[in-house]
């Protein structure tokens, strides 16, 4: 008989908070700079707990993002899965990076995710390039400097392993 692993509630709560922040209404001026919360939180958990959080989580979070953002189901899932794979592949290297170095890698990963989503949209219905779609790459990297210590604290506090 398999019991529920400890800390599952903590994981779910962080996902729900990230999804909520993704759709929270904001003034249009700040809206373009909104960090990619879901990807940030997912990447943290992949780096911290690669044996628990990987492809399946990425796929589910991607599909939920698709439904919440109203895009074609599977588009965000595709981007999330590829980024999650790269992070899970190199989690040991990422763990040993300094926080600033991590932030740079995170920026590259989020850029990749956004590029995949954008290309998928171009392929599916001829989307036009808008530079503002890539602003969150920078803000996400900046926010990583706070998201990482915060989630580490959460992980240790609630003993998620």
């Amino acid at each position: 008989m398999k019991v529920v692993k400890p800390g599952i509630v903590t994981l779910l709560v962080t996902y729900v908070i990230a999804l909520t922040l993704m759709v929270m209404p904001m003034p249009a001026t700040f809206d373009v700079f909104r960090p990619d919360w879901v990807t940030l939180v997912m990447l943290y958990w992949i780096i911290a707990l690669p044996h628990r959080v990987s492809m399946g989580t990425a796929l589910i979070l991607g599909v939920l993002s698709d439904v919440l953002l109203g895009s074609i189901v599977g588009v965000h899932a595709l981007g999330m899965v590829i980024v999650a794979y790269l992070a899970a592949r190199n989690f040991q290297r990422l763990r040993n990076f300094a926080l600033i170095q991590q932030a740079v890698v995170i920026a590259v990963l989020i850029l990749l995710k956004r590029f995949i989503v954008f290309e998928a949209n171009v392929f599916l219905h001829d989307a036009e390039f808008t530079l503002s779609y890539f602003w969150p790459v920078l803000t996400s990297a900046v926010f990583w400097l706070w998201v990482f210590p915060l989630l580490r604290k959460v992980r240790r506090q609630f003993g998620v392993s």
Partner: protein, 284 residues
């Protein structure tokens, strides 16, 4: 110490599986358009997240409401009363005109136009991606909202319902890149097709010949052709006409009459000929 991936398939095979799932989902949703029943379920599933997301805003609104002074409230009350008076005056005239219109139409032997039924809904989320311009509203199938329903705000048409959940619905705005609407110029009845550009304050009119009689500033009303939108609601105003003879058609841009980025309350419309009925809550 847990060993990594001691059980289960390797990371690479899981990647392949997840990628296959994503592509399959995209294919099912985009090519086969077969996701609608699942979408209703998924939309209902994520509705709590959407209601959670507007909670801080609602609390702030309530707070600012509760700290208003008596003078502010009475001033607002006065202004609103005056507005009601003015609107009531117009309403009387409207009723007279409607009756007259019906009589005249009966004389002509054409169908009378009934007024459509309406319901007010609140915007609870906006999609923050430039290539999909959508709103989420707080009414769904439980209120009788259906796919393809026209959505208005106080100044004009803003879009149509794209998909519905139990108590949320997603509205595709007229400025979305994949949306087009048939319009008619108010001044000279020229029919045009307006496509969204992905820029929230901008529509592009397609296939306009260089010799068109349209002018900058012309108001464009919905034409009622195409069957989705009712006839005669204001939609956009022509902002610029560029007649570049090297292109096959003139480049015409129009600005939506309603500020699509500032919509907070919307009006759902049930045209008389539609089979669906609005389901009002008891307190309305």
């Amino acid at each position: 110490m847990k060993t990594l991936f001691a059980r289960g398939p390797s990371l690479l095979s899981r990647l392949v599986l997840a990628l296959a799932c994503s592509f399959l989902l995209i294919f099912i949703d985009h090519r086969l358009q077969a996701m609608q029943p699942v979408r209703v379920f998924l939309n209902s599933l994520v509705a709590p997240v959407q209601y959670l997301a507007i909670l801080p805003e609602q609390m702030l609104d309530n707070f600012s409401e509760s700290v208003k002074t008596t003078e502010q409230l009475s001033a607002e009350n006065k202004a609103l009363k005056q507005r009601i008076l003015k609107l009531q005056g117009q309403q009387q005239q409207l009723q007279f005109l409607q009756n007259e219109n019906r009589r005249l139409r009966e004389l002509l032997g054409s169908d009378a136009r009934e007024s459509a039924r309406r319901m007010v809904a609140e915007v609870i989320a906006v999609a923050s991606e430039p290539f999909s311009q959508q709103l989420v509203i707080n009414k769904g199938t439980l209120s009788g909202v259906y796919e393809g329903q026209p959505v208005l705000d106080s100044s004009g048409i803003i879009g149509q319902v794209q998909d519905v959940g139990g108590n949320t619905a997603r509205v595709l705005l007229i400025s979305d890149q994949s949306h087009a609407i048939s319009l008619r110029s108010e001044r000279n009845d020229i029919r045009v097709l307006a496509q969204g550009t992905g820029d929230i304050g901008r529509l592009e009119l397609m296939f306009i010949p260089h010799s068109t009689e349209l002018r900058e500033g012309d108001l464009l009303m919905s034409s009622g052709l195409g069957g989705v939108f009712p006839e005669g609601y204001p939609v956009a105003r022509i902002a610029s006409i560029v007649r570049d003879e090297s292109l096959p058609f003139a480049t015409v841009f129009a600005d939506p009459v309603s500020a699509l980025d500032r919509v907070r309350n919307v009006l759902l419309l049930w045209p008389t000929e539609s089979e669906q009925q609005p389901i009002y809550e008891d307190d309305e």
